[in-house]
């Protein structure tokens, strides 16, 4: 192989060529590095777009979304400025929603888009680059020298706006020229933005819907709360009312109990129930009614009460009333008054009783018979025995609630009440007297032991009264203790007497002899005439002074035929000292004798 020898100049020229090739390779290598850098940046852009998507999807509002978007344009594409524009269809202009890097671009600055339409940029899905000459371009006033714009649509394909990135005239030297290589990634960015925006709109719509629903729910809740509160108030009121009612009921019950306890002793069950169940019965008012009126009284009780301690009187009276009230209720009598030892009882009101007179008579018989029980208890208690007289009269009276709004009483008013009282005044202990009207009303079931005519005070005509000994029929009752077994005394006992009523009232110092004697009666031969049913005050004669001063009382109940001056007198009140004196003489009597 032949060696070609080169001259110095040839070698030098060859060296320079090689040198150029070497240095040229440096340029090429650098261009390769730039190319790699370009790829690197593009890769970085797509990575940054991913980051943008992650950030933007969490945006809580469109404002935040827009801000994230414009900042991400800067970060991703290393542009100087960016803005998110929305298309105003009515004005055919663009509205700035957010901007970054513009010193003078205020949000809402109107962007004319006629030139975009003219260039066909309003339709299309790809980004485009626009150089902006400050003096000739429609957007020249914005201070931009170059922009990259990409339109975005909604799901229907209608233009919604533009994403814009750019560089300004002032700082263009620092920022790389926007080149075609940026278009794909900018387009992708805008498409991602568009999807995210639609997602945000959907999210906002959903949130708005939820908010509205929530608002509705809140309103409903408020209404429900209000209703609930009203119901609660209603419930509270009702509870309070119920409580009041309960209290009232309790009070009523307590009152009823109280009334029953306090007054049930004096009122019949019917009257009591009628009043409790029908408070209107308490209203003032009255009616005419035929009733049988009973008046009872304890014989000699006044003088007896003067001899006893008040506690003994009350105890004795209560014991008596306890028994009597039970009997009266048993026979549906209405106790209208209790005045001391006297009872005013009505039969036939307020509830009508078809056989009111029979009820009343049966009741009177039962009351008299119940006196045995009363006296048994009295004896056991060391108290004197009691005797009761009962008068009955049937008449038309006015019954009803009589009184004022503060004090009301079911009562009976009429002359017949006084008549009953008069009749009662003619009784002696253990005796039941009835008027003619009662006898007629009761019918043929009565056992009449005696009858007489009296002329009570104020009466224009004599009044026939009947002494009742029993009643047949469904009651079948009779007086159990007549006590008429008189014994003839071995020595007649002198006495003085004073007539307490009748046409001889006030006559004093009259004398008489007590011939026969029983526990309750005596045959007395008076010096003069006395009227039947006359009440007498008597004193023993021929006895030591202290005994002679003891008054004892009686009622003339029968004239004995043997001499025209002898009368059967029923004791109405006899002091113990006199009783002892009588008992002593009875023990030495000749023999018992029927009257």
């Amino acid at each position: 192989m032949s060696e070609e020898k080169l001259t110095y100049n040839e070698l030098k020229a060859g060296y320079e060529v090689l040198q150029k090739q070497v240095t040229r390779s440096l340029i090429i290598k650098q261009e390769l590095i730039h190319a790699k850098d370009s790829l690197d940046r593009d890769l970085t852009r797509f990575r940054t777009i991913q980051t943008y998507c992650k950030k933007a999807i969490h945006a809580g509002s469109f404002e935040e979304f827009a801000e994230i978007t414009v900042e991400s344009i800067i970060e991703t594409f290393e542009l100087e400025c960016s803005t998110l524009l929305t298309h105003d269809k009515t004005k055919n202009s663009l509205k700035v929603e957010a901007a970054f890097g513009f010193e003078e671009l205020a949000a809402g600055y109107p962007f004319d888009i006629d030139w975009l339409g003219a260039k066909g940029f309003l339709k299309g899905a790809s980004a485009f680059i626009e150089k902006i000459a400050p003096d000739t371009h429609p957007w020249g006033y914005l201070g931009l020298c170059q922009v990259i714009l990409c339109p975005y649509d909604d799901s229907k394909g209608d233009l919604q706006g533009f994403v814009l990135g750019g560089r300004t005239e002032r700082n263009q030297a620092y920022y790389d020229e926007i080149t075609q290589e940026m278009i794909p990634s900018f387009t992708v960015f805008t498409q991602e933005m568009s999807i995210l925006l639609q997602n945000l709109r959907s999210k906002e719509y959903l949130e708005r819907t939820v908010q509205e629903r929530t608002k509705d729910l809140k309103t409903t809740n408020v209404e429900l709360k209000k209703t609930n509160e009203e119901l609660q108030q209603e419930i509270t009121m009702r509870t309070q009312t119920e409580e009041k009612l309960r209290l009232a009921e309790q009070e009523s019950k307590e009152l009823s109990e109280f009334l029953k306890k306090m007054f049930g002793r004096y009122l019949s069950t019917e009257v009591m129930d009628s009043l409790l169940e029908n408070p209107s019965a308490l209203e003032l008012g009255g009616e005419r009614r035929n009733v049988t009126i009973m008046m009872s009284d304890l014989r000699g009780f006044t003088s007896l009460s003067e001899r006893l301690e008040p506690e003994q009187v009350v105890k004795m009276l209560n014991g008596y009333l306890e028994v009597m009230v039970d009997v009266i209720h048993q026979y549906n009598g209405t106790i209208n008054e209790i005045i001391g030892d006297s009872l005013l009882v009505i039969f036939g009101a307020p509830q009508e009783i078809p056989d009111r007179a029979q009820h009343a008579i049966a009741c009177a018989l039962a009351m008299e018979n119940a006196m045995a029980k009363v006296n048994k208890e009295n004896r056991e208690a060391g108290l004197p025995e009691l005797e009761m007289g009962i008068g009955l009269h049937d008449t038309e009276v006015i019954v009803g609630n009589i009184g004022s709004s503060k004090r009301i009483k079911y009562s009976v008013v009429g002359r017949g009440v006084n008549m009953a009282s008069r009749i009662e005044s003619y009784t002696v202990g253990g005796q039941i007297l009835i008027s003619e009207s009662v006898r007629k009303e009761a019918g043929e079931v009565l056992r009449i032991d005696a009858q007489s005519e009296v002329l009570p005070k104020g009466a224009g005509v004599p009044l026939r009264i009947y002494e009742i000994g029993g009643i047949a029929g469904r009651y079948n009752l009779a007086l159990e203790d007549k006590d008429l077994a008189l014994v003839t005394l071995r020595q007649k006992l002198p006495l003085r007497y004073t007539i307490l009523e009748g046409k001889h009232v006030g006559r004093k110092g009259l004398g008489g002899l007590l011939v026969r004697l029983s526990k309750k009666c005596a045959e007395i031969a008076f010096d003069g005439q006395v009227e039947l049913l006359t009440n007498l005050k008597m004193n023993l004669g021929d006895v030591y002074e202290e005994l002679a001063a003891k008054d004892f009382y009686g009622k003339v109940i029968e004239r004995l035929e043997k001499d025209g001056h002898s009368y059967l007198v029923r004791f109405t009140s006899v002091p113990p000292e006199v009783v002892s004196y009588f008992q002593a003489h009875q023990q030495h009597a000749i023999k018992p004798s029927a009257s």
Binding site: V22, T23, I27, Q30, I33, H34, D40, E78, F100, Y174
Partner: protein, 400 residues
């Protein structure tokens, strides 16, 4: 004793970005107030917003900073148009001093730097290290260092970076208080007697081909290379049109000159690099160093493997120089051209991690770095202006 806290962010809202940095840096402290904030920012941020918000959040702090092509923090590099990193410092007022000049150009590089140094010394004669952040355009780095050393002497460590933009070679900015300087200079003098700094730089480039000679020059302006207009010669040698711009030529246009042999081992190279940062209509070029006539220059070739190997070696040497001490804080300057003009994202992350992990491992050591246009790091016992290097400035507690 000075205390350092660092942070960085990619947030593009400038107010939010500085707030985020302060919160991340000083989040464990009782408040965000500190005594000095040094920040590096990309050219795209709103500087006024940064200063206003920093003042609001840290009202007692002196605030200084400059622009660069990107930042490098503990979280790695960021060359976006809106990158921000800070070093927040707490200390006594006599432990640091800040001075600035609002303009520095090639012809005034020495004088302005000397004035800055004098001001620093006047304010605090105890300054034992200077963080220097001058403009990276129309500036002569070696003359500036001469100016500094004329006041403090060659012993004082001067570390930092020249300010820049995003490789457009248009402008740069410095910040002090609420002032924004254009092509100015900032100098921060530290006077903590318990601290020292060790610095080192590496480039990892090969020289290729035969050298060519500066045949006519004036200071940093080269009129002719090999008797031809300098730009025409360079473009012709590279096979690109003479109309090509400096950024278009890029690293291919970088040149190297020989280093004294005794520095080769320390530097890991026989040559030191520089580049034209401007050209004139007459075809002359401006470099950031003085290029006397007769200087021989070489084209250079970027050697990726060597860049990594030399970096590893430099880090090993730094660790050795730490003598077992954990770095107290690290300032870092990387040439802007070693960013995206040289490496993709993965490799850049790799480069940074190959610095950070061996040096500070997983320790919470503050780290503030910037992609600038030139680096100040010591070489051969005195301060040296570099280009196309990775330069680390490791603050250490002094051994007693």
């Amino acid at each position: 004793m000075l205390e350092f806290y660092s942070s960085s962010t990619a947030a593009i809202n400038s107010k939010r970005a500085i707030a985020e940095c302060l919160e991340n840096a000083l989040g464990d402290e009782k408040d965000l107030d500190c005594d000095l904030i040094i920040f590096y920012t990309s050219i795209g941020h709103n500087f006024r917003d940064i200063l206003t918000e920093a003042r609001r959040l840290s009202p007692n702090a002196q605030i200084v900073g400059c622009t660069g092509a990107g930042i490098i923090g503990r979280d790695g590099p960021n060359e976006s148009m809106k990158a921000l990193a800070i070093m927040a410092i707490k200390g006594e007022k006599n432990e640091f001093t800040v001075v600035s000049k609002d303009s520095i150009i090639s012809f005034t590089s020495f004088e302005v730097s000397a004035q800055l140094a004098q001001e620093l010394k006047n304010k605090n004669p105890s300054i034992n290290m200077i963080h220097f952040l001058p403009s990276g355009l129309d500036f002569i780095g070696d003359k500036a260092l001469e100016g500094m050393e004329s006041v403090f002497g060659p012993e004082i460590p001067i570390f930092g970076s020249t300010s820049g933009d995003n490789m457009k070679l248009i402008n740069n900015f410095q910040f002090i208080g609420d002032r924004i300087l254009e092509r100015g200079a900032i100098a921060v003098g530290f006077a903590d007697p318990t601290l020292e700094v060790i610095t080192q730089a590496t480039h990892g480039f090969n020289v290729i081909g035969e050298p060519f000679e500066v045949t006519r020059s004036e200071l940093n302006r080269i009129f002719e290379l090999e008797g031809q207009p300098a730009w025409r010669f360079l473009t012709n040698r590279l096979g690109v049109p003479e109309t090509a711009t400096l950024p278009e030529v890029g690293p291919a246009g970088w040149v190297a000159r020989e280093l004294p042999e005794e520095l080769n081992n320390e530097y890991g190279s026989t040559h030191i690099l520089f580049a034209a940062l401007n050209k004139d209509l007459d075809g002359s070029i401006y470099t950031p160093v003085v290029c006397p006539e007769g200087t021989k220059l070489w084209n250079t070739e970027r050697d990726e493997d060597r860049m990594f190997k030399d970096l590893d070696k430099m880090v090993e040497q730094l660790i050795e120089r730490c003598e077992g001490r954990k770095p107290y804080a690290v300032f870092h300057a990387d040439c802007a051209a070693r960013g995206r003009w040289s490496f993709n994202r993965v490799l850049k992350d790799e480069i940074v991690s190959r610095m950070q992990y061996p040096l500070i491992q997983d320790e919470d050591v503050p780290w503030l770095g910037m992609y600038g246009f030139g680096e100040f790091a010591r070489l051969g016992g005195r301060n040296q202006f570099h280009m196309f290097t990775t330069s680390l400035f490791v603050i250490l507690k002094k051994t007693r």
